[in-house]
Symmetry: C2
Amino acid sequence: MDFSVPKGMRDFLPQEMREREEVIDSIRSTFRLYGYAPFDTPAVEKMETLQRKGGEEIEGQIFKIEGGLGLRFDLTVPLARVCGGKQFSLPFKRYAIAPVWRREEPQKGRFREFYQADIDVVGSASAECEAELLACANECLERLGFANAAIKINSRKVLDALCEKIGVGEEKKGALMRSLDKIGKLDGEEIRKEMERKGIGKQEIDGVFGFIEGAKGNEKALAKIREIGTKKALEAESELSAVLCACKDYGITPQIDLSLVRGLAYYTGTVFEIKLSEDMGSVAGGGRYDSLISLFGKRLPAVGISLGIERLIALLREKRKESKGAPYTKVFVACVNEKARDYARKAAGELRSRGICTEIDLMGRNLGRQMEYANSAGIAFAAVVGEKEKKEGKITLRDLKSGKEKMVSVEEAEEIIGKD
Amino acid sequence: MDFSVPKGMRDFLPQEMREREEVIDSIRSTFRLYGYAPFDTPAVEKMETLQRKGGEEIEGQIFKIEGGLGLRFDLTVPLARVCGGKQFSLPFKRYAIAPVWRREEPQKGRFREFYQADIDVVGSASAECEAELLACANECLERLGFANAAIKINSRKVLDALCEKIGVGEEKKGALMRSLDKIGKLDGEEIRKEMERKGIGKQEIDGVFGFIEGAKGNEKALAKIREIGTKKALEAESELSAVLCACKDYGITPQIDLSLVRGLAYYTGTVFEIKLSEDMGSVAGGGRYDSLISLFGKRLPAVGISLGIERLIALLREKRKESKGAPYTKVFVACVNEKARDYARKAAGELRSRGICTEIDLMGRNLGRQMEYANSAGIAFAAVVGEKEKKEGKITLRDLKSGKEKMVSVEEAEEIIGKD
């Protein structure tokens, strides 16, 4: 029989879990710092709910459960379901850090069960939201040690206005956007060819590339958008300007990138993504989706950003590859012989009551093998206890790196361990 | 179309989530304090893995996913799968706090998606493990404010030895145990009748009740077990004695309850449960399962305890029903007019950089409506900023409960807020 883990899914052993918990806890506290509140939904949704967003691509990826159910493929659709059916005091600012499931072909760094870390603002159409989301996401990265991230921003409205102007109809707009999304991954010539294959005329292609390529720098990009001249273009220009202006006060400087599309069909306004370097995929992305919630019964503007938590965990592991990662346990209480077992338990209890993560021998091992275990587990200190320690109510605290040891009270031990 | 949440599942709004996060964080840190390490497996397992444990009851409850997969129904089977296939340094002490899914009929307090909080020790047959697990579970309860929990303990070996002695064969043992499990829920007469219906003879029933009823107090219970006289009984007696002895050093006193069975088929030795009061179901339960991992390829003893986290959350909510629960956000930065918006963002940034959870207006509201929002959200302080504050680089900090306010620097504000 085959008892392996399902394809594209993973078991997380303690060391990996500590890294994951560290990243998740750090992001969670940053989300709270910006006033986002926790909000969770079940892993399982009705298929009707999951299919409501549409998009064949996504639908083929749903893990279907008998009885008309399925596993969620993102955290946004469940949020939209709840907001569509329930009355909230607005703005509703929520965070969720939770797994989602997609039946994709697994590849390096891509899994069928993976975590997303999302913040969303529901109920406000203001550019303040975009600025706050970007500031918060950027701070999440900084707190994890990733400074100087590049924030890119665009608006679906710009692309809509451009298509309208150069005469790309609704039926070809999707194909055009999917090709544009490849800028930076494929070279310009290949993308042009792909567009041609999709039946987009040479003139339109020139129009699109002419528009995108001449727009280096935010001022030039905004001018280019204004040049389109339609109502939608001017709307996009004013929204992007407002986001950039508010971002300044948060100390971040997004760059307009007119080729930025973002995959999701439901974006309606600003879209953004954050990269740590040009040659690496994005570590965060999102946008405004003012029509999604109306599919579930209520008209409410909304905007969100999702941090690519799996990639961040992998990058952090990369950065720290030399360190093995210390366990949570700080002290191993080792007992010299059977007569000291009772005292070993009591000493462990006292250390724990002081908030020190403590282990004790559960295997009935002799002292030598207990010390071997503590060393191999990477625990920083051993508290050796025998009859002498028992009599005096003390422990012999040994620093397992330096080998230095000293008989001390638990109180003194706390101080020594705390300094480590 | 029906966009409700699936039957028996729940959305968790912010206030509930804060309660859940508080309970989970508290339990998690207690688990770490006792040296348990985080270890997670996917929500999805192969059906072969889930079915390996056997038991028709459980199998009917699995949420089946197309492609031979299913949602896990507990956290123990996935642990056994991993331990059966991988080499760990022993003892392997793991914690997991995660959702499981069961397609049961939902009832009050019972859901189809619910969290379990488990600790397990794999690789040791020592009674030290049971004592540590019980001490840790008890401390989890104490830290949540539930003191004086009653810990009950028994051993499957006692029941096996008893059945052997009074002549209840393997084929009726299961039925007998399921009936015994109802002691405390049904009265003795009803349980006797149920046993009779199951074809257990009157003499055997008298034997069982005679054994159980005369055993009040640990000393008497241990004597009763010794009286059985078989090898298995003496083994059980010595194991239970060892657990009780080690527990003493941890300051807990489990009571032997010879009618304690626990539902799960895979227990092989000690079983235990913790109750907060006689008339309430258990809040924790577990036992030793020395044969489970061998189903997945390796002979390893193991023992674990699971905290009924959903019940604990409900009890805590009950206890605190008067309080609305404060949000994580401590300060709302309210701006007097549009000219102060830029400064409001900067002030929010400064407050956040000091670790103070801060919100800012995202709705373009006037001052009055901003204050209404802050009040209704239960935020403790408002930082009002207008042109005067902007000029002086200060904020007017208002205590929203007392209504007192004072213009202060952000540094001074930190001190005032910290004291609250």
